[in-house]
Amino acid sequence: MNEPWLDSSASVLVIGTLSLALIAAVVTVRWGRRLPRRGDWLAGLGILSVIIVLLVTRRHEMSMPVEEVPAAVHGWVWPRIESDALRVGILRDGPGFAVSMIAAALSALFVLNRSVTEREPRQERLFAAALTGSIGMTLAWLSLTAWLAFGGILLTIFSGFLALGTHWDDSTGAGVAARYARERSAALLLSIFGAFALASSGVDLVLVAKASAPLPVGASLGGLLLVLGLFAQTQPFPMSGWLTLPSRASASGRIIFAQAFSAVAALAPLIRLEPLLRASGILQTLGWVSLVSTVLISFQGLFQADWRPAMSAWISASFGLTTCVLAFSGPWAAFSLLLAALFAAFVFTLLASIGADERNRFASRMCLLIAAATGAGLAGFVGFSGSLKSLVDVADNATLATALGLARFAVALLAWKLVWLVPEQRKPGAGHWSGLAIPVIVILASLGVFWTGSLTGGAIPGNPDQVMNSALNFFFGSPESGDAARVLTASSLLWGGVLGALAIAFWSSGRGEDRWLRIRGTLPRFASFIEEGYGADRFFGQLLRGATWLANQLGTWLDHALWGRWVPGAADWVLTRTSGLLNRADGGLIVAIHRGVHRGVHVPAKLLQLVQNGDLQWYLFFAIGSGIAIILHFLRF
């Protein structure tokens, strides 16, 4: 890795700009109500500065291959040459630049979209969320090592928390925001602990894709914790109970910043560490976990009556599918799906949030359809190529191909269902022109031609419709094309899944009564079980109640009873008894001594008393006795 002096200054420029932008975000949150236009200009300025610094620092490296991208490494905790050191640095490569720019652009478009923000009571929190989300995404995707990426993910979590802050002041909104922050923070800590375990085992967590040896034996647990923690940022099963919690917070803020941004930020280290994780077999485990989660959550979304939780479920399922594709196919396909999910989430949610009136009904319905096509992976859009490649890569494994196809189908089904669900529930009202213009801009950005170079997004084998260089090839290298049989199998699965999902969605949701809601009515307990996340919340609630009961018992029996009453009581009993015993013994000894002394003194005292009481006999006896004694004494001599 090069470490030219110039790179350090570029890194300083990036970090410095992001820090200033973060300060601007804090100012917007804290004092936004007093600022003109609730501080949208400040947030916009911050996002613009992020875009400018990205362009300025990237200017010289546009044409550089991945291996020669410069990076600068600094020691954060301990000097960088130490084995246990936590190193940080900025890596300005293609994927990082692309995602950072997209995030900044989407944040800017969100801030500009008056039809979404002007209805919210605490707009400054939304603007701050947009800026913070942009900073977090940039940090996560430009980070050279996992440590700075964790900082970026933390900022995106904070961004999501702010986006939910439009209704912190009511009980439900507060509960949703707090639960979101708690679960995401716990997931982040889990991945951080995994990283600690890896660092302890000597694994270098540098996020530059290169062929890697498997993890040492003791580090497998760390690797597993790391990937599970990062995957949990997509709000998978069993954390999907949050997806369906009702909240009056801005739906677009919730979906874009609380869900999409933090999921994309978490995918940054996952995508970059792919060689290391693949060599250790951890990615296979993650792949199956994410596949099952995708299917479960997709079906959870199908049973939702309201478009908000349904869309939340679709976002989660989409990123779950992206993770699954990363595991079974690789970063090329995963990145394509990531972009598709991000673009589709943005378009979907903005369209759902604008007011519905006669003038924009047709246009917004068309945009919804196109957004669903992007998310479902239809040809012509960026997601198609990734979906196709992933199925080509697993075509030899029938089980895996079927499972992946099923997951693809489930996600597509939910996406198509939203096309009919959203318009029914949109609030009436005159939409601002930006409400449609902005989604159209983003839809254009999601076209496959800009990412694969192919007009159909790689639908035609051999890419005869290639009109420009493929950005994905530039980022991740050209993928293997696969033999014709595999391509045919994969194409059949993909087209069949996507179009079949469209047909079923139309049949179940597009013709009058929603059949999924009918199932809800017919089998309410079954539907409720699925709708609320397959009973996971109840299970964890029981665990928590058990932990609270244990805590109460420990507090009652150990702290208050044992150490508060019994031990002090026992100590007091022992001390009191011992003291009483010694006291009695002491008293007895004193009495005995007193008696002994009394006796020892009593006889001579009595004698003297007798002498003193005037009895002459005694005086005579004494005198005579004394005389005899004296005579005898002198007679001897």
Binding site: R30, G75, W76, V77, W78, D84, L86, W147, F150, G151, L154, W168, D169, D170, S171, G173, A174, G175, A177, A178, A181, R182, S185, A186, L188, L189, L190, I192, F193, F196, A197, A199, S200, S201, G218, L221, G222, L225, L544, A547, T548, L550, A551, N552, L554, G555, L558, D559, L562, W563, G564, V567, P568
Partner: protein, 507 residues
């Protein structure tokens, strides 16, 4: 200049007490302000000396610096010996930062302001002296002295059951000090020539000595280590000897509990590290597993007990208990990273606990309420983020540091502790992870119930945001937590050489 800075740092607060005692008593408000001003000046004086000492230290140097030595009680080879190295530098910094903050926090104390400030100054002096002492007797002298002001602070300014709490704290302190002193006497008479100098006793000299008790030959090192460990465990909240700590948490005023939990407890762990690794390296190497087990128990039990807490005071107490367990895991890791992490975490823990305790104190003084959840689970506070956004920001940063989020001081300590301990004690690190995940639950729940949601209508008094004075001492505190998290390099370069030298002794 640096030759007498330690003495100035230790005795300036004492001088402040004396000056304060002789201040004329005029009109009440003027007298109180003057007294508070003198106390703050004395405390700041000591703190500035401490800061100058730390800033003037040479990095990459393991030996003692700023040494001051004077013979004291020559017949018992007791000397006034003070010095600074990587092990105690961060604690000097912690004391320098926190005590002026505590005095500022009690600026408007209505009852016995002079007395309270005086006792805090005595505490500052005694803890600073204990941290810098390089003579065992001198260390014991200051350490034992530190228990007295705490007794009065709790017993006079505490809650309804303050006398019981103060008595229990004194009993625990007295027992602990007695055990500690027994160890000192044993050590003194076991070596020839007799000495209390830590430097002269360093290197495992005691490991070869034995003494006879009731016919049995006992190793001096093992017995003395056990006595010292038990003595310090009684002063720090080490499970299961933590009962007095919980009671004090409930009854003591917030600033007093902060002085105990955020300063006195880290000093106890520092003394353990200093004496264990210097005087008993072989015993430490043999007992490392036991130290880690005790730490893990502390960590997990503290975390579990915190889940059911409904009040800020007890929540803070159990958080402190849990974090001390983490420090012990680092101490028992016998690795440079783990030990440096333990030392660094003392600073991060101190600042984090102080922030938590002080913002809790402000909240309680505003609302008259220390419980954030009623028995039926309903919030008793709530809506704090709207009425007190600065307080919400401070609380958020403190919670982030206690959980060890990247960019906070807690992250640096946690990272070194866990990286250093994982290879030898993976189970302990796994338990630490579980405890920290539990902490995510109860700290976020506390935050949600205090700062989010609607305001509770029946609450006694309205919540208002931090005043300028409160911002003046709280914002720098949390600012330092962020700075120490983003740029820990200067402090780590102070600590590391000493730790490497110390680690080499058991190995």
């Amino acid at each position: 200049m640096s030759h007498h800075l330690i003495t100035l740092m230790v005795f300036l607060p004492f001088l402040g007490v004396v000056v304060q005692a002789f201040l004329p008593r005029g009109e009440e408000q003027t007298s109180a302000t003057m007294s508070a001003g003198v106390s703050l000046a004395a405390s700041l004086g000591g703190s500035i000396c401490g800061l100058l000492l730390v800033m003037g230290m040479q990095t990459q140097m393991a030996d003692l610096q700023a040494i001051e030595t004077l013979p004291w009680i020559g017949s018992f080879a007791i000397s006034y010996s003070m010095g600074l190295d990587g092990l105690n530098a961060l604690l000097v910094l912690l004391i320098a930062i926190l005590f002026p903050v505590l005095i500022a926090a009690e600026w408007n104390q209505k009852v016995g302001l002079r007395g309270m400030h005086g006792l805090l100054l005595v505490l500052q002096s005694s803890l600073a002296g204990a941290v810098c002492a390089q003579d065992l007797f001198l260390l014991f002298f200051f350490w034992a002295m530190s228990s007295l002001p705490l007794y009065f602070l709790i017993g006079i300014w505490g809650g309804p059951r303050r006398e019981t709490a103060a008595f229990r704290s004194m009993v625990a302190a007295a027992l602990g000090n007695a055990l500690f002193f027994g160890a000192l006497v044993l050590i003194f008479y076991s070596v020839e020539p007799h000495t209390f100098s830590i430097h002269e006793l360093t290197g495992g000299k005691l490991g070869k000595e034995a003494f006879k008790l009731l016919g049995a030959e006992l190793p001096v090192g093992g017995v003395a280590f056990g006595l010292i460990s038990l003595g310090l465990a009684l002063r720090a909240p080490i499970w299961p000897l933590h009962g007095w700590f919980i009671e004090v948490a409930e009854e003591a005023p917030p600033s007093v509990f902060v002085a105990l939990a955020a300063v006195s407890v880290p000093v106890a762990t520092y003394i353990f590290i200093r004496l264990a690794y210097s005087l008993f390296p072989e015993t430490v190497a043999q007992s490392a597993d036991a130290i880690v087990i005790v730490g893990a128990i502390n960590l997990v039990l503290g975390g579990i007990c915190a889940i059911s807490q409904r009040g800020l005071k007890l929540l803070l107490a159990y958080v402190c208990l849990s974090e001390v367990g983490l420090i012990l895991i680092g101490v028992g890791s016998l690795s440079a990273a783990g030990m440096v992490g333990a030392v660094y975490q003392q600073l991060a823990l101190g600042l984090g606990i102080a922030g938590f305790g002080l913002f809790s104190g402000v909240l309680m003084s505003r609302t008259g309420e220390s419980l954030f959840r009623a028995e039926d689970g309903t919030p008793t506070l709530g809506g704090g983020a709207v009425r007190a956004p600065m307080m919400a920001l401070v609380a958020g940063l403190v919670v982030a540091s206690l959980l060890g989020f990247p960019g906070s001081g807690g992250f640096v300590g946690h990272s070194l502790l866990m990286i250093g301990s994982y290879s030898l004690h993976p189970m302990a690190v796994v338990l630490a992870c579980v405890a920290l995940l539990l902490a995510t639950y109860y700290l976020f729940t506390m935050y949600r119930l205090v700062f989010l949601g609607p305001e509770v209508e029946k609450r006694g008094r309205a919540l208002s945001d931090l005043t300028l004075r409160e911002q003046a001492y709280l914002l720098p505190l949390v600012g330092l937590l962020v700075i120490f998290g983003l740029y820990p390099k200067p402090l780590l370069e102070l600590v590391r050489p000493t730790v490497l030298a110390l680690i080499g002794i058991p190995k």
